[in-house]
Amino acid sequence: MKRYFGRKIVIYLSTFFLAVTVDWAIPRLMPGDPVMNLLSRVSVRAEAAEAMYGYYTKAFGLDIPVWKQYINFWIALFHGDLGTSVYLFPQKVVDVIIMAVPYSIALLVPAILLSFYAGNKFGAFAARTKILDNTLLPVGYLLTATPYMWLGILLAWSLGIVAGIFPTAGAYDFNMAPSFSWPFIFSLIKHWFLPFLSLFLVQFGGWAIGMRNMIIYELESDYSHYLESLGAPRSLIRKYAYRNALLPQITGLALQLGVIVAGSLVTEVVFSYPGLGSLILSAIQNKDYFLIQGCFLFIIIGVLIANFFIDIAYIIIDPRTRLGMAGE
């Protein structure tokens, strides 16, 4: 277990290190003066532009040696300083992002957990039952192949605009002030539901298909046949097979995280949900590079933390990793 964790932590630290280096290097690798590049493409008031030029020249520290710039970047990072947003001047990038992160998490975490649970259960249930299996296979594959934003667009259009049941923009009614009251919470849930549903459905298909394929493999293995020959009830064999089939699914969850996050970003764009996705879109449209860089770091840190949790879950679920019998 020590070895397992040691390896993982080395990988996470090097990933973080690499990500920060990329974040630092990319603006400097692009041709031209990065500060002028940044400012020439935004239209801001003259006094703001002057203040920003001074700020960015200092922030980039282009007059000092490259290695010092790099170290300064790290120091600023550990002070939580990711620069100042251009299009939301004078707000700090960190503050802007922290405002958006709760919405993204509120969307992502329930969608991931619920779809993982429901998809696996349904996949295991559908495997080897003729009718369900025959429909699950094509439907599941088509669902995982659906671009997240397209499902979002369809839901927003059909349930939101045509049927008028759900709102299609924002996180709560525009004429409401955030407060801890029932109407406000109801409004939050109403706005949250459609983006959640589109994230949930796409992932559900993937987990159901994955579990179906895995559990069929497990049901064909020796221990299942042995149990069968002993006369064990079908539900018991299924239970054992399910547990074994769940392990590769958890590894799959870790591998899929990046794709899921990307999916949630574009889903937020469709529903104008005020999370990181919408923030990135406006940052791109306003050429606010500091904001993009900040979002990049936040996403990477988030995915690394999630990966770490999945590793812990894996150790809890699979006793072999605990006993040091399996490395990865």
Partner: protein, 304 residues
């Protein structure tokens, strides 16, 4: 004398055997492939869209970004898929976008598969220190959310093209392929025929390409198909968030414009339904085709 005689006697036998054996094996795959519904359905859908992507643009007189007519027209005999809120022809955009998707799939998926093959074979065959180092690199790229990486690279590029997008996708999508191919190579490495080749003094790269790779051909093909579909999906996501090609149209960009310019509010479904539907059908069919191929190549899975 005897040798010659023997040879003469054996030769016809050999000639008989070879032509018999070879077609039999190919026939077997063709036979099972022709009976496999999943493969047939998946392949036909993909080929249909490929055909539309190739010959579709010849049936339109417009450029994808030209303002050619009345705005927000529903599909008609004049404008096959209607027009956008700016009066652009949706059909033209759709077929051009399909082309872009297939280009991204082939180049992006191809590069990712090739890198995966090189790293997977090297790590799996060499083992030891090389394996360890490559493994760490693979794991690092595996953990990084690829999309975030593409996001920051694309954001800083002033001019973006479809080719460049495909190359970047290829260079970030390879890790799982490398990992899977490494595992397969690892298990094949210790087989007798590989040992035999090694003892007879074959060069490592020759062993890999003549002894190991042919045994994994079906696996490599399926890896490419999955990477193909994955590349299309990543490109769509990237395009939709506004980092797509700056000088061309793609299916993701179509959906981006549709959402930004009020297609939902005006009910212009012909603008946003076709691109997403095409992607879903292409990628979904690729996945289903893959299951079919698996059954064709793997006798254990055939009877299901």
């Amino acid at each position: 004398m005897i040798d010659k005689n023997n040879k003469k006697e054996k030769e016809p036998e050999k000639e008989d055997k070879i032509p018999q054996k070879k077609p039999k094996k190919i026939n077997e795959f063709v036979y099972f492939a022709s009976r496999n519904t999943k493969l047939k359905v998946g392949l036909s859908v993909v080929l249909f869209f490929l055909l539309v992507a190739i010959i579709g643009p010849f049936f339109t007189d417009y450029k994808w970004n030209a303002y050619i007519g009345p705005i927000s027209q529903p599909p008609s005999s004049e404008y096959w898929l209607g027009t956008t809120t700016f009066g652009q022809d949706v059909y033209t955009q759709f077929v051009e976008g399909l082309r872009a998707s297939f280009i991204v799939g082939i180049i992006g998926g191809g590069i990712a598969t090739i890198i995966g093959i090189i790293i997977g074979f090297t790590a799996g065959y060499r083992g030891g220190m090389v394996d360890e180092v490559l493994n760490i690199i693979t794991n690092i790229v595996l953990v990084i959310p690829t999309f975030a990486l593409l996001l920051i690279i694309a954001a800083y590029l002033k001019v973006r093209g479809i080719l460049m997008e495909s190359v970047f996708i290829g260079f970030t999508a390879w890790p799982w392929a490398a990992r899977a191919i490494r595992a397969q190579t690892f298990s094949l490495r210790s087989r007798e025929f590989v040992d035999l080749a090694r003892i007879s003094g074959m060069k490592p790269y020759k062993i890999i390409f003549t002894e190991i790779a042919p045994n994994m051909m079906s696996y490599l093909l399926m890896t490419f198909i999955l990477q193909f579909g994955g590349a299309i999906l990543i490109a769509t996501t990237l395009d939709f968030i506004g980092l797509g090609p700056t000088n061309a149209i793609s299916l993701g960009l179509m959906m981006n414009y549709a959402v930004l310019w009020g297609a939902l509010e005006f009910g212009n479904w012909w603008w946003f339904v076709p691109p997403g539907l095409a992607i879903m059908l292409i990628v979904g069919s690729l996945y289903i085709m893959n299951v079919g191929l698996d059954e064709v190549f793997n006798p254990k899975l055939r009877e299901m």
